[in-house]
Symmetry: C2
Subunit: 114 residues, 2 copies
């Protein structure tokens, strides 16, 4: 049963991270705890959309939520999530550099041909 939950949690975490708006939210919150009223102006999305995205990150235990009067403050729960994102970037960068390398090789062979 724990076996099942951990695999569910993995999917929940990965699913929460596989959306561009949510990754931007995390980057924004890398600067520290922010209330929704500070987050909203930084994003070109409706209030309801941002609220839903924040909740998805919260449900995945990636964000922490603290209610302060009429505000709600969100913050990164575990900064290790940035290690994860950096690892993804590292994988993505390798792909791009392979492409770039392939591009250079192709270009070279084209130049040789003319």
């Amino acid at each position: 049963m724990t076996q099942k939950s951990i695999s569910d949690l993995r999917i929940k975490i990965l699913g929460a991270l596989s959306d561009p708006t949510r990754l931007e939210l995390l980057e924004f919150l890398a600067g520290g705890e922010r209330c929704v009223c500070e987050i909203l102006p930084a994003f070109q999305r409706s209030q309801s959309t941002i609220s839903k995205h924040l909740n998805i990150l919260y449900e995945a235990d990636i964000l922490e939520r603290k209610i302060d009067g009429k505000r709600t403050l969100y913050s990164i729960k575990d900064p290790q999530v940035f290690d994860l994102i950096r690892l993804v970037d590292s994988l993505a960068l390798k792909q791009i550099s392979h492409l770039a390398e392939a591009g250079r090789i192709l270009e070279k062979s084209l130049n040789r041909g003319r």
Copy 2:
């Protein structure tokens, strides 16, 4: 433009990983290169479904594909993807252990109450 592609790639990679069947496929392929005919019997999914999942992982540059006669061989392109998965597990485990801890505390206070 590279800025845009890298963020697209991140999402593509994370999206490819956020599916239980595909994570299982990766774990299966951790044992090394396998042809589809070896993969199929290990999964309770139709051939077309597995083929599509494999293609999603391939498109995300997570798997490598090699055609060998009438077989197609798939393998892990970059084992760093397992570091990524292990990091996700680490985050998920922390959540579960927090829950377990909360459970113990709750249990204790219940026992004290009777």
